[in-house]
């Protein structure tokens, strides 16, 4: 719980760069992340994982592990009292593997002991006999009926077809390509960690966990523990970043099982290596795409075939797939489309949510295509995108009408007006060269390139899912108290929620109560949805409380409540002279209201992929400038210019942080980040071998936020978390193409793709 004290001269209302209420705790090291928890009498938990991508388990012998001094429990699949499997969309993933392991790193057993080193020794003492099988790792082969089905639910997780307009229409010009997107990791800094406290008597458990969605976790945990949901309390532990990787279950069930088995608090935290095996990744994808256009460059039809490798278990693959294929057209008008998408099960690591959720993959393909189209028509990258730019009212390839504000043209034009950076000086510091601190580039081999990317991203959940959010506001003695189950993962909802309360209620002091399952769901912190959804819920609850306040003041002072309004920190009579401070007006009373915000209903897609499946959309343009050492294949991203459709800026500082942070992740996918697989085996599960952008890799970002308030959105603001990371990737690759003349059809672009 944190109280946010206010300076009376300046009020941190909506539209200001209010500072984070957890800022002091975070800069001093006092903020409690889930890995910082400690309890008297606690034990450490750890997980035994499969070394094989695919194998039959013949036997598991835990005898020797249990004999080690300091070991309190060893559990396997037979110790799961409830449902043996879990999953966000389809419960097809075992809590512990018992018959087959289907990916490298799949959990088989867990131990509780007095020290992490004791845990390590106990895991090493568990004897598992495997019959090693040949993994199915190629999704194209995996989806064939003739291929071994590696799970009872089959290898094809989902196929969806889209047919819109005329299937066989063509035009003057066609361009096509095959594109490959590598497997990216969310690589949040704060590793998976939790602490579980068993209730006395063992009839319940309280789990403190870094997660994106408390209520979804609770439902899945309770089912596996065979406990009523009320007996499982899930409390948000401090979250060190998420980016999609905390939407699925990782150690939640294991930690609770160990706590209930031992009757003691259990602390679990993954190492970085284990984290690479313990959460889902961004889907690698292969995309074929073909555009038909007039000779003037106007798109007539798009065709595509997309294959997403879902890995061993379903996770959110069906939804990622739908996002991918329904964004085939990008932010462009397109009347005809034929698209087929497949999400496929393999023995590769499971894939699921990561910032951009399917749209990242589609965008790399459609933006690469737009540049091919520009070239074929003799247009510039900007011209071809302006000619085709989508507008509000256009019909999408799903038949859905674009009802969101759609300032695509403006995003492109305003980005284009941002000045380009100065050329790399002949005597520039070597640290500015491609290669950074490696200092290997030769100035004479460095060539500059410029590239573009523009994208469209759906906001909130799709296909009929009611991902509502709940919030409670309590106003008493001039202090507003807010309660919600919204996961703060770093994005800044803890800053925004008090801003909303101050704006609506005229209070300055706002208390944030603990985020846990003692209130209704807030939905997931994903899909760029919490400002809209939980923001809408906080706004709604505060407005209800304000109505009650006006009724109370009106009754006491004999004024029709309809005449009252909040001005600054006072309740005033809009007609008369009456004025009372909110603090004074709420002395000795407590007004409390709970509000659920629901977005408008959406629909499933039909067999031709037609239907109003998405809630709303946001748009962004990126222009990247890169320096490339064409001999060594090294890339330095010099500048990224961007204009993003944000609806309304609620906190300029937080918004800029989202734009810059997303761009760095998109840069990572463009030129650095990839989980490398060899026949199902992860070859680089460490920060030594999985490269992340550092301070020397960060480009200079010049950002413009386009404010055209979205009528559908409760605060006029669109979600802004995902768009920054989507089209910056193709923009950077286009810039490398411009510098090198190479076709570059896969991301990340590796040195050998440039120089060999």
């Amino acid at each position: 719980m944190s109280t946010v004290k206010q300076d009376t001269r300046h009020r941190d209302i909506l539209g200001t760069s209010a500072l984070r209420p957890d800022g002091v705790a975070k800069v001093t090291g006092a903020f409690s992340f889930s890995s910082d928890m400690w309890a008297e009498n606690m034990l450490w938990g750890a997980t035994l994982r499969s070394p094989h991508p695919y194998a039959r388990i013949i036997s598991i012998d835990t005898t020797a592990a249990l004999l080690i001094s300091g070991v309190s429990a060893v559990i396997t699949a037979q110790d799961v009292p409830g449902k043996a499997t879990y999953g966000l969309i389809s419960a097809d993933q075992p809590v512990f593997a018992s018959d087959f392991v289907r990916y490298m790193g799949e959990p088989i057993a867990a131990v509780a002991a007095d020290h992490p080193e004791t845990c390590r020794r106990a895991l090493a003492a568990i004897i598992v006999n495997y019959e090693v099988l040949t993994p199915v790792v190629d999704p194209e082969l995996a989806m064939l009926a003739t291929t071994e089905q590696i799970h009872p639910d089959g290898n094809l997780i989902r196929h969806q077809h889209i047919l819109h307009g005329e299937a066989h229409i063509t035009s003057d010009i066609t361009v096509e390509g095959n594109y490959t997107i590598g497997m990216q990791d969310q690589a949040f800094l704060g590793l998976e960690a939790a602490m579980a406290f068993p209730d006395s008597g063992g009839n319940g458990v309280e789990l403190h966990i870094a997660t994106q969605w408390l209520h979804e976790d609770r439902g899945q945990i309770a089912a596996c523990l065979n406990l009523p949901e009320d007996s499982v309390r899930v409390v948000l532990g401090g979250v060190g970043g998420a980016f999609g990787a905390r939407e699925d279950i990782s150690l939640q069930v294991h930690c609770c099982l160990l706590a209930l088995r031992t009757g003691r608090p259990i602390k679990m935290q993954y190492s970085r290596e284990e984290s690479f095996f313990g959460h889902v990744h961004r889907h690698p994808a292969k995309i074929w795409m073909k555009h038909h256009a007039t000779k003037e460059g106007k798109i007539v039809k798009v065709e595509s075939r997309m294959v997403f490798d879902g890995g061993a278990y379903t996770s959110t693959s069906p939804a990622v797939l739908i996002n991918g294929i329904t964004h085939t057209q990008g932010p462009y008008q397109c009347d005809n489309a034929v698209v087929d998408g497949y999400a496929v099960r393999t023995n590769n690591p499971p894939c699921g949510a990561m910032r951009g959720f399917g749209v990242v993959q589609a965008c790399f393909a459609h933006e690469s295509q737009m540049d091919k189209l520009a070239h074929a028509c003799g247009l510039s990258p900007v011209e071809v995108r302006l000619i085709n730019a989508m507008h509000t009212g256009d019909k999408l390839i799903t038949g859905q009408v674009m009802e969101s504000v759609a300032p695509v043209e403006r995003c492109i034009r305003e980005t284009d007006l941002i000045p380009l950076p100065a050329p790399l000086a002949l005597d520039a510091n070597v640290l500015e060269f491609p290669g950074g601190s490696g200092r290997t580039a030769d100035r004479h081999n460095i060539v500059r390139g410029i590239g573009w990317g523009v994208s469209m991203k759906n906001l909130m959940y799709s296909e009929g899912f009611d991902d509502y959010a709940t919030a409670r506001c309590t106003l008493s003695n001039g202090i507003a108290s807010l309660k919600f189950a919204t996961s703060e993962v770093g994005q800044g909802f803890v800053t925004l929620a008090p801003q909303i309360a101050r704006s609506v209620l005229g209070v300055d002091d706002v208390v944030l109560e603990t985020s846990d399952t003692q209130i209704g769901s807030a939905g997931s912190t994903s899909a760029s949805r919490q400002t809209w959804m939980s923001g809408g819920a906080v706004d709604g609850a505060c407005r209800l409380v304000r109505e009650r306040l006006f009724e109370h003041v009106g009754r006491l002072h004999n004024i029709d409540p309809i005449r009252l309004m909040i001005e600054h920190t006072d309740v005033i009579d809009t007609i008369g002279t009456f004025r009372i401070s909110v603090t004074q007006a709420t002395q000795g009373i407590t007004l409390s209201e709970t509000f659920e915000h629901h977005h408008r209903k959406t629909e499933d897609l039909d067999e031709n992929g037609q239907g109003n499946c998405h809630v709303a959309f946001a748009f962004v343009a990126h222009r990247a400038v890169v320096d490339v050492d064409i001999e060594l294949g090294l890339v330095k991203v010099v500048q990224v210019a961007t204009a993003q459709d944000v609806g309304r800026v609620l906190n300029p500082l937080s918004a800029l942080g989202q734009l810059e942070g997303g761009i760095a992740q998109g840069l990572g996918l463009a030129v650095m980040e990839e989980i490398i697989l060899d026949n199902g085996r992860v070859k680089n599960p460490s920060f030594t071998d999985y490269l992340l952008p550092t301070a020397l890799d960060a480009p200079h970002v010049v950002a413009i936020m386009i404010e055209e308030p979205e009528p559908q959105a409760p605060l006029g603001a669109k979600g802004i978390g995902e768009p920054p990371c989507i089209s910056v990737t193709p923009a950077i690759v286009a810039a490398i193409r411009a510098a090198t003349g190479k076709a570059l059809s896969r991301v990340p672009v590796r040195p050998q793709d440039i120089c060999l």
């Binding site: 002091v24 006092a30 890995s35 800029l656 760095a664 920060f687 301070a695």
Partner: protein, 176 residues
């Protein structure tokens, strides 16, 4: 904690105080001992390989990754953690207000310039920036980037972190 595998006893000098460590396992890193034995969880673990800088502490004047230091080899060293950057007045109770009034200019700048999002990398970065500015009070932009390139931040894209360092440098310069 009842610990069946360790019986090492030694004393570390941390944030100006002698801190006895009892019944420890000799294989524990300095990061583990700080966090799990000495109630100093400010340094964070995120890679175990010295790649991310989240566990940065000052040891005898050098910024080091505490995950790579065996705690038992740090006996005799002068260690400063993020908790030790604040001037603690023992006569004052530690509350949100007293801490806010005592945080350093670097910490304040990280908050005001938006250098903090999830905050997991923040303590390591705060220590690294203090160390940089002590050695080089007026670093160039490239020197800042190079000196913190061992601290990975996954949230901010570094832009607001650069702004925070620049703000501190300017204020310190003006006050000299």
């Amino acid at each position: 904690m009842n610990n069946s595998i360790g019986n090492e006893m030694y004393t570390l000098h941390i944030n100006g105080q002698d801190r006895p460590v009892k019944d420890a396992w000799v294989g524990e890193s300095l990061l583990y001992v700080l966090r799990e034995r000495l109630e100093l969880p400010g340094a964070k673990g995120a890679c175990e390989q010295g790649e991310c800088g989240s566990c940065t502490v000052i040891m005898d004047g050098d910024a080091v990754c505490s995950c790579l230091v065996m705690a038992a080899t740090a006996v005799g060293a002068d260690i400063v953690t993020v908790e030790g950057l604040i001037e603690n007045d023992p006569s004052m109770a530690v509350t949100a207000q007293t801490i806010t009034s005592q945080i350093t200019d670097v910490q304040q700048a990280f908050i005001e310039e938006g250098g903090v999002q999830c905050g997991f990398c923040t303590p390591g970065l705060i220590v690294a920036v203090h160390h940089l500015l002590e050695k080089n009070p007026e670093p160039t932009e490239l020197q800042v980037k190079e000196s913190i390139s061992g601290n990975i931040c996954r949230c901010t894209g570094y832009g607001r972190i650069f702004a925070a360092v620049e703000a501190v440098v300017q204020v310190r310069k003006a006050s000299r």
